[in-house]
């Protein structure tokens, strides 16, 4: 049943040299020739890999498919995610109906109108960071100076983390997501963050403000609906899910646009929010930074793209190749900020589709609308071929992005 023959390819697969913005060519070949096929994982187990757009969507919306990480067949990403996800259950590891109850405690916080109301605050954060950047050394690493602080400051604002604790918060977030990290170290960082966040629940409960942690403290903790610990775990999820995803999309998206100067100029010179919004969707589609993909386990036998998948078998829904599927996007390997790409699956699909997507969208729209307008001469400070990327990180990205202006 789970015969890990030496013929079974490993997942993940390396990207092609010189093509840092594209999914591995083997995976795209799979999509055309063997769209549902077996792969071997880091711990020697096997899973099914699903690579077509239509199959990825059907799978992620199928109630027979589960996120139960305790199932022996669940295809964990690495030892760190296995330790964290099995010891610390969040709504991401819950199936319906438990998932619905827990997700709906937060959906109002991220709904479109609530996030739109945050746009001026996000604009201010981005403008202040660009002021600092312009006043600082030239060239500078855009990852450190801009891409990381934007989502970190936005999440601190949203959660109600005091400004002064930001550096601490960023460091622990980094330790939680270490590339090939050691599970014991990641769990220690997680424990440290939990202590911090549990204290924050008490502080916000004593002195509520206009932020997510204050509302969770008042509505859930005070009423006994959630423990302090549960709220801390939820805070950690928001931090992990919302920080590096956005930061990597900012930095990698900027690198990609620097490699396509005519499209960068179109964004910079347009002044049209609708074009910027379309460009953001195209960057999300093209880059799909969640390259460890969406992991599931079959709760019942099911057929995906003509292939029978047995109950208990692990499944990886490959969003990167789905987002380059010619059946869903014409000329899919061409970056085209003018195309309407909002049906991409960069935020996943089904009940677990990204909860923070309205926030991510507004952050990215403000960033790409502002960065090139405020720094019209922004240029890479090293040849783009010399950039190094993060093939083994949980979220794909560029390591440093030295820029000048």
């Amino acid at each position: 049943m789970t015969d890990a023959s030496s013929e079974t390819p490993m997942f993940p697969i390396a990207r092609a040299a010189g093509c840092p913005f594209d999914p591995p060519p083997e995976l795209s070949r799979n999509r055309e020739q063997a769209p549902v096929s077996r792969v071997r994982l880091w711990d020697g187990s096997t899973a099914w890999m699903v690579t077509r757009y239509a199959d990825v969507r059907a799978l992620l919306a199928d109630p027979r498919v589960s996120v139960d990480v305790a199932q022996p067949g669940f295809p964990h990403t690495n030892a760190v995610s296995k330790a964290r996800d099995t010891q610390m259950k969040t709504l991401m590891q819950m199936d319906a109906p438990e998932h619905i109850t827990n997700r709906r405690r937060l959906t109002a916080e991220f709904m479109v109108k609530r996030v739109e109301a945050l746009r001026p605050t996000i604009q201010q954060i981005v403008d202040d960071l660009i002021d600092d950047l312009l006043a600082g050394p030239n060239p500078v690493d855009l990852v450190e100076a801009f891409a990381l602080p934007v989502p970190s400051m936005v999440i601190c604002e949203l959660l109600g983390v005091p400004y002064t604790d930001r550096a601490y918060f960023q460091r622990v977030a980094g330790e939680l997501l270490m590339d090939q990290g050691d599970p014991a170290k990641a769990m220690a960082a997680s424990e440290e963050l939990h202590v911090y966040l549990e204290n924050l629940v008490e502080e916000r409960n004593a002195e509520p403000g206009d932020n997510v942690f204050s509302r969770l403290a008042v509505e859930q903790y005070r009423t006994g609906a959630m423990t302090r610990r549960e709220i801390a775990t939820l805070g950690q999820l928001l931090l992990v899910a919302g920080h590096d995803t956005t930061a990597n999309t900012i930095a990698l998206g900027t690198a990609l646009l620097l490699a396509h100067p005519e499209q960068l100029a179109a964004i910079r010179d347009s002044g049209d929010p609708a074009l910027v919004a379309r460009a953001v969707e195209e960057l999300l589609r093209y880059l799909t930074v969640t390259h460890t993909e969406s992991r599931r386990v079959a709760r019942e036998d099911l057929v995906v793209g003509g292939q029978l998948i047995r109950q208990g078998e692990g499944i990886i829904a490959v969003k990167s190749t789905a987002n380059r599927d010619p059946a869903a996007f014409s000329d899919p390997d061409t970056l085209d900020i003018h195309r309407g790409a909002r049906h991409h699956v960069a935020f996943g699909y089904g009940a677990h589709q990204c909860l923070g997507q309205p926030l991510a969208r507004v952050e990215l729209q403000v960033v790409f609308d502002t960065l090139f307008r405020r720094i019209p001469t922004l240029a890479p400070a090293v040849p783009l071929e010399e950039l190094t990327f993060k093939p083994n990180a949980v979220f794909y990205g560029v390591r440093d992005l030295p820029v000048t202006w």
């Binding site: 992620l60 959906t107 909002r342 089904g350």
Partner: protein
């Protein structure tokens, strides 16, 4: 065109609101879809079709052209 939404299936993603804000809204208490207009003007049909196509909860059903 008649629009039907299934609030139980809604994931609160807001995708429909971004596609067709004159037709869909989100409930203040929990971000779940609220239908503003079950019989939208033909000029909105493309946007409503897009909303139904991308809704991650498959919570939007369209009847008629």
């Amino acid at each position: 065109m008649e629009v039907i939404v299934d609030q139980d299936a809604c994931a609160g993603s807001g995708q429909c609101v971004l596609s067709a804000p004159e037709v869909f809204d989100q409930r203040d208490t929990d971000g779940i879809v609220v239908l503003l207009n079950d019989n939208p003007d033909p000029r909105l049909h493309d946007d409503v079709h897009e909303a139904a196509r991308i809704c991650p909860g498959r919570a939007i059903t369209l009847i008629g052209p």
